[in-house]
Amino acid sequence: MRIDLLALSQIIDKSVLQKELNYINEIYNFNLTLDLWCDFINEMKPIVNGQKELFT
């Protein structure tokens, strides 16, 4: 699918993100936070980028 989630994650308004998360937590009785957001972003980054960082 053509949706670049990494690009999307970088343009989304964080307040909107938090608001949506709060809504889902309330309706579906979750207890989720944005604590893992950075891990999520890193998961999406290509391995090549990581290799470049290693050598810079």
Binding site: M1, I3, D4, L5, A7, I24, L32
Partner: protein, 524 residues
């Protein structure tokens, strides 16, 4: 009244009676029809002349009409034909040559004669002989009611459009402005084939599909699309225009193909009509218009035919991307790329009566209404496209038996580890053997497809592949087991609930909806 199974008014019948009164030879008859009304070869043979003269001298001749579905026959009503021709005059269309490649009863020819004073020659091609005559009679009727109208040369030719030599017309009239107008049949070649119709183009892989694509259905094409492309290819270097009523899918395909074909057409426009009102059919269709002999253009402006002052949107190629709304795409294009996670399709088993189970009063019941007993280990909840309505799903209507953890895995373990399940599956071996698809050939018994490690991820974000929806759903485990999806669904699988929810929020965001709206065609 009918002659040659074609409707003829008394006015036309009386006229022909009069003009052919003392005429006995075909040469004389054709000479008279040409001099009076511009028809070339009004009669193809002596027999037609004799039959016509005899028939119109008798007051009544009633013959029932055969089934015209074979030919995708939906005659354009005169009102619509006139509106199309009138609309073309607002675009300064002023043809010397008019061609209607599948002219039917000639309504577009009559509309063209009415609107365009510049016409010097008309070609109507029609496979159904009664309509050839009805076209001629309708044209005569038009002239009798409008005696001062311009009378170009008119050729109504009894021929299949696939056999007719359009190239010669192009060659002989290279400097003249041409208009190709009409309503080619909205039927596919496979539909015609199933009706045993002989009116098919010669078998040709005209879209150059590879073998597998041709075998698996991409070889099924729309006849109107074929005819439209044939007209574009033949006349693209000639001054003129094309205006044809076709399905919206055809227009989308033509604009799509422009990227590779680079036909010399521009000002490509789509005027949406109300097919239900005009033809009493439920398919979306429009007037396709383009200008010939231009630098290739790769966009199409879309209008409402009945209120066409301003384009609703533009679709087509933006650089190397084919989009359904160029303006909306420009807003969301930054997210057009590759998803960092791999999208997967769900389970395929082609054996729903055996493999899809309902839970009734604590028992599993299969599609044959048999109550079955089997171990629960291989039974998983499964969702279909129609189930993906809500944002979060925690339980399923249906269950399925997952016989493998990856494609091609041996299934003999089931006999030893899950004997009841094995017994059930074995008792219905015939159903598995009856699966038509060749993908099951030489595979372990009870094989399934669309299965892998991803299928067993606990948290999934899924979307229907069948319905025109842009809403993504979070699928949670059921009874601590991952839920499966069928092959009509697409999904991402996650180990962490947070990742699944973050993805869900991103995918259901307004930016994503705008993006998806700008790359999908709702009507085609």
């Amino acid at each position: 009244m009918k002659v040659f199974e074609a409707n003829i008014t008394h006015q036309v019948s009386d006229y022909l009676n009069d003009i052919l009164k003392n005429v006995v030879t075909i040469e004389k008859a054709n000479q008279k029809m040409r001099k009076a009304l511009g028809f070339i070869h009004f009669f193809d043979n002596e027999e037609d002349l004799q039959i016509l003269k005899e028939t119109i001298s008798i007051s009544q001749n009633i013959v029932s009409e055969p089934d015209r579905a074979e030919y995708g026959d939906f005659q354009t009503n005169t009102d619509l034909a006139n509106k199309v021709a009138l609309h073309l005059t607002t675009k300064n269309v002023s043809p010397e040559i008019v061609i209607e490649p599948t002219c039917g009863k000639g309504n577009f020819i009559v509309a063209s004669l009415k609107q365009f004073d510049s016409v010097k020659k008309v070609f109507g091609i029609e496979i159904y002989k009664p309509y050839v005559w009805e076209s001629k009679f309708n044209i005569i009727d038009f002239y009798l009611n409008n005696p001062t109208e311009n009378k170009p040369e008119i050729l109504i030719i009894h021929s299949s459009v696939f056999d007719f030599d359009f190239k010669t017309i192009a060659k002989e009239n290279g400097t003249k402005e041409i208009l190709i107008i009409g309503n080619p049949p909205w039927v596919t070649n496979s539909k015609l084939g199933s009706l045993n119709s002989s009116n098919l183009p010669k078998k040709t892989n005209f879209k150059n599909h590879n073998g597998l694509d041709a075998m698996t259905g991409k070889g099924n094409f729309d006849i109107a699309e074929y005819i439209t492309l044939m007209m574009i290819e033949t006349f693209q270097h000639q001054k003129g225009n094309i205006a044809l009523l076709v399905k919206n899918t055809v227009i989308k395909n033509i604009v799509f193909d422009q990227f590779s074909k680079k036909y010399h057409i521009s000002e490509i426009e789509k005027y949406c009509i109300d097919s239900k009102k005009e033809f009493n059919v439920s398919v979306e269709a429009s007037l396709y218009y383009c200008k010939l002999n231009s630098n290739p253009f790769f966009e199409c402006a879309e209008f409402n035919f009945y209120n066409n002052s301003k384009a609703k949107l533009n679709f087509g190629w933006l650089s190397d991307k084919f989009v359904s709304n160029i303006d909306t795409y420009s807003i969301a294009e930054q997210i057009d790329g590759k998803c960092p996670f791999e999208w997967r399709q769900g389970i395929k088993h082609d054996c729903s009566s055996i493999m899809e189970l309902d839970k009734v009063n604590g028992h599993f019941v299969n599609g044959l209404k048999e109550e079955i007993k089997l171990e629960s280990d291989l039974v998983y909840g499964i969702l279909k496209s129609s189930d993906l309505k809500n944002t979060v799903i925690k339980e399923t209507r249906k269950h399925t038996i997952i016989t493998q953890k990856k494609v091609g895995q041996e299934t003999n373990y089931i006999k030893y580890d899950f004997p009841k399940t094995f017994q059930y599956l074995s008792e219905h071996q015939d159903a598995f053997n009856a699966r038509k698809s060749s993908i099951y050939n030489n595979k372990p018994p009870f094989s399934i497809f669309g299965i892998g490690d991803y299928s067993f991820k606990p948290y999934k974000v899924a979307i229907s592949g069948l319905y025109k929806t842009f809403h993504f759903t979070l699928v949670l485990p059921q009874n601590e087991k991952p839920v499966m999806l069928d092959d009509t669904c697409y999904m991402l699988g996650f180990e962490k609930l947070e990742f699944a929810v973050y993805s869900l929020i991103l995918l259901n965001s307004e930016t994503t909806v705008q993006f998806l709206q700008s790359i999908t065609f709702a009507d085609a």
